[in-house]
Amino acid sequence: MKNLISMRDLSKKEILYFMEIAEKIEKGELNLNMDKKLAALLFFEPSTRTHFSFATAMKKIGGQTITMRGTSSSSVKKGETFADTLQTIAQYAEIIIMRSPIEGAARYASEVVDIPVVNAGDGANQHPTQALLDLYSIIKTQGTLENLTIGVAGDLRFGRTVHSLVQALSEFTPRFKFISPSFLKMPTYILDDLLEKNIKFEELAEIDEKIDELDILYVTRIQKERFADPEDYEKVKGSYILEKSMLSNVKENFKVMHPLPRVDEISTDVDDTEFAYYFPQAKNGVYMRQAIISILLGGVK
């Protein structure tokens, strides 16, 4: 594998290989030495957390990073094409990690340069490293990715993260419970895909409605700005806030995940329960990104 652009490109076997390598890295079973390897972090849109996670991952495997920020149009203004910018950077670095608001930017980059490209998020399209770290968090807490009951709550209409996650889990016969306000429901094209694959799902309106059946509850933020009328937001937001009191009868293996940053959709009193998993999830992101970079750089034998 040369690039990581979209979950759509990955087979089940490849997904599981990423899991296996991340686990070995976490357990210290792999001696990775990316000495003299340089990752170019191209962030054409701000994302402090993702940048931090990648920079940490690269440093932990002995590599180094350079960062270029700005908008993808900034170099265009100087008269240089995006392709030329990429080709130039490819002369300095061994791998490009790219975040862009432009959809398909990472795919295009991978066609322009000879070095590996990692998509660190392209607009509303894909964020495969997030999807892989989410899967890694699920496999770590559940021991498997197969036959799980997964609740996904929040903004399911615009949430790129949940789309990738649902898409990735579809390979593993899951049962989904989608919990959202009616106008932020999972898009029909995703539901159609699930129907086609015979995957069971139901749509719910309250976060705790069937919480006792879940193995995982994946919570995402509902942005106030999505609502035309702020009053509508105030009316519904209570239905999508997870509170400690809702957790009295959940399954033993139940875990709450969140891509972070959170606003108030998970009440802080959940944090010190055994079910909170969002901070370890962020840590898993570093292991997964170490695995991704090492595999693409050919450092895993």
């Binding site: 759509r8 959809e103 398909g104 607009g123 894909q126």
Partner: protein, 149 residues
């Protein structure tokens, strides 16, 4: 009833049974230039389809790729290649597996709309005809996309 005749051609391609009104679009699609003599019949009577458009191009044999691109606009079209007034080949426009450089992605955030890149689409479903952009991965009905001409 008197029927306006579109002359037979000695050598070239005839695209028949184009749904009425789509003829000009098909002509643009296959990029008819001034080099060849072209006859375009608009709203002709047809026993099969009621009304149809027809295009005859002299001295040009369309490639299968060009023929397939016609399927995007006029899936019912029939294509006949002619030499010495004889039919040497009849072809049906077939929906291709992938479509390159022919259609524009309707997604304003797609890289193909901010960089000069040849667009690439995969046909995901045939009925109704749907395509997925290779870059932004959005799926569209063929009626939703703009044909690049």
């Amino acid at each position: 009833m008197k029927q306006l005749k579109v002359d037979a051609i000695k050598k070239g391609t005839v695209i028949d049974h184009i749904p009425a009104g789509k003829g000009m679009q098909v002509a643009d699609l296959i990029n008819i230039s001034g080099e060849n003599i072209v006859m375009i019949g608009i709203s002709l009577h047809s026993k099969k389809v009621g009304k149809k458009d027809i295009i005859k191009i002299e001295n040009r044999e369309l490639s299968q790729e060009e023929i397939n691109s016609i399927a995007l606009i006029a899936p019912s079209a029939t294509i006949t290649i002619i030499k010495d007034f004889d039919v040497i080949r009849k072809a049906k426009a077939e929906i291709p597996e992938s479509i390159e450089g022919l259609i524009l992605c309707p997604n304003p955030k797609c890289i193909t709309n901010s960089e000069i890149i040849k667009t690439k689409f995969k046909v995901t479903d045939e009925k109704p005809l749907q395509v997925r952009c290779h870059y932004c991965e959005k799926k569209y009905l063929v009626e939703e996309v703009k044909i690049k001409i």
